[in-house]
Symmetry: none
Subunit: 196 residues, 4 copies
DNA sequence: GATGAATGAGAATTCATTCAT
DNA sequence: CATGAATGAATTCTCATTCAT
């Protein structure tokens, strides 16, 4: 019988707690403006303790991506193998929307710290993934507007995550609205194919 | 014979040059990662010279907004006074697209440094402007999806500015494609009004 | 044979050493004219080390007060509880004179950096203490001259600490002479009470 | 017809105005904490203008002493020539008290910025004057206590200038009270001479 | 009698990182 | 698994001062 079910969960989970607090602060105040001191203080450990668990500051961020972006990664992997049908595309969006919702803070962080992401290893990787996803959605020889539509669909899903924060109602409802619009865009882009 | 042909061209333009270099670096490397030392070095002046022209680092950024975002400001002002017709909305997008193109680096900067913008005075102001613009485009009692469409239109215009950079072809063509998609979205949102 | 006889004696005493050197320099050259660089250099540590031990420059000074002015504080506490007899007053002066001698450099510092003290937290606190001490010595309804005498007694004790430095003889003898004059003044002020 | 009788008295008096504002700020916030920028701003001129009138910051302060401390200087000159009678001493105190009142801000400044004064030329000079004044008051072979009394008298007059500020009543009355106490002290010191 | 533009030196402070214990 | 103590490099900013105009 484990000793502390809901008591202060200290112990093997320090790594986890660092990640939690780090993500919270990174998302809240930005990567550069969050210092390791702050993270350590909020956790009531010393800065040196952080270095026991992670090699560098960038590493902490990296670990967040590894842990939180994996579902997204798998989704993209899966998507790349599907046939390029409309149904597939729609399903991809549906799943991507959920993936985003599941790691909201992380994606919000990315959205708001793009300049920072650019020279972080995790940033490069993420950008590559996005492009692969885009490649699944769009038709290479489609007119520019349709390409934009696909891009727009993706981007709106990202941005919607937090930009609609101070707009209105129930988050889940909003998510579905965004998904609907994105699906519309991709559908339209897909349909244009035939009329060419 | 004029005294300094190519000698130190230290005329009244230093302030301008600071702004130029600052915007360049801010956009390129991000606000926090750009130090005043770098700006000064690139200009071959001392850091103190920057402080002769601007009170703080934030002030430099602020001045960029004042100078570059004014056309946008005036556009929004104008937009707020127009009747809420479809044509108006389309015209607004058209003009906004141009305004964005005219201050591309600045808007790219904003897009990529949102976390930073959040606690800058200029950030607050900009956000407020965006919301006003959104208010002109959307119908307050429209269904959520239509609201999202309007938001999406705006956001895609911003993001498109630079996110399409590493995608393809002629910038002007891309801009028009983005504008077209945005217009579609707003048009669709507007038209839904009747079918309610 | 212990490992570092005269090697870097970098034990737990750094904080102390900072305080020592800081007080020395603050008293010698004034608070503003003493830079953290100087303190660090004289200690052969880096500036950052100072910040490990103290949050700010003002904090270093604050800590000196906390450590050195405590005896004085306790004395004032004690004084406030005594009956307002002449004997008490004399005893207070006697003790205060000793307290001053025990933290000579600190009081000299205060005396010579009043302008600085004014906007330091420690300054406010000290002033409040002085007024409380004065309140114990003087009779609230005594004539103005007697109030001045009490104030003068106190002030002379402070100033004497260092102003007599370049005057003459044995410090301890001087201290006693100052105390005697101060006692005279307070005694006179107290005696006047009856003749009113 | 003169153009500006009571209008902004600009013109030949800038030097004066600099001195006024400088003294005001020096006394208010301390010498080091007062920057030339502040002085210039309050005068609505540029820093460079200050340098037209004074060679350095220290020079501004120096000029204040030259202008304001001259009466004191003359007094001391005069005092040094008088016979060493009790009446003389009393007269000296009386005059000195008035001299102090006439340049209150300057003396307050000195009192509160002793650490600064120490390495200013004006500081050295002033200290020398004080010692000469002290030499006129005290008897060289008097017991230590009596020497202290003289010193105390002088010092109380200085300190009283502003330390009694937050104590009570009418300034002029306070000045007289201080003078009275100082006179008492010197008288006592003088009288002891006989009883030796 | 002043300004506009700049500089060189230096201030306080913060940060990511290291390492012996 | 962690801390205490420290560092080196950087950062933003301020100051007294200079000088051509």
């Amino acid at each position: 019988m484990s000793s502390n079910a809901d008591a202060r969960p200290r112990r093997g989970n320090t790594r986890q707690r660092i990640q939690d607090v780090a993500l919270e602060l990174f998302a809240e105040r930005g990567y550069e403006k969050t210092s390791l001191r702050e993270i350590a203080e909020r956790l009531e450990v010393t800065k040196a303790a952080l270095y026991y668990h992670f090699k560098t500051k960038e590493d902490i961020l990296g670990s967040l991506f590894e842990d939180l972006a994996r579902p997204t990664d798998e989704l993209i992997e899966w998507a790349a193998e599907q046939p390029r049908t409309l149904e597939t595309k729609q399903e991809i969006l549906r799943r991507y929307s959920e993936a985003l919702a599941g790691a909201e803070r992380l994606f919000r962080f990315m959205q708001e710290n793009q300049a920072t992401m650019r020279d972080l290893q995790a940033g490069e990787e993420f950008k590559a993934r996005m492009l692969r996803l885009l490649d699944v959605l769009r038709e290479p020889d489609a007119p520019l507007t349709d390409q934009v539509r696909c891009f727009s669909a993706l981007f709106s899903m990202h941005a919607g995550l937090f930009a609609l924060k101070d707009v209105e109602g129930d988050p889940e409802e909003k998510r579905r609205a965004i998904l609907e619009v994105a699906t519309d865009l991709v559908t339209q882009a897909h349909s244009d194919r035939e009329s060419r």
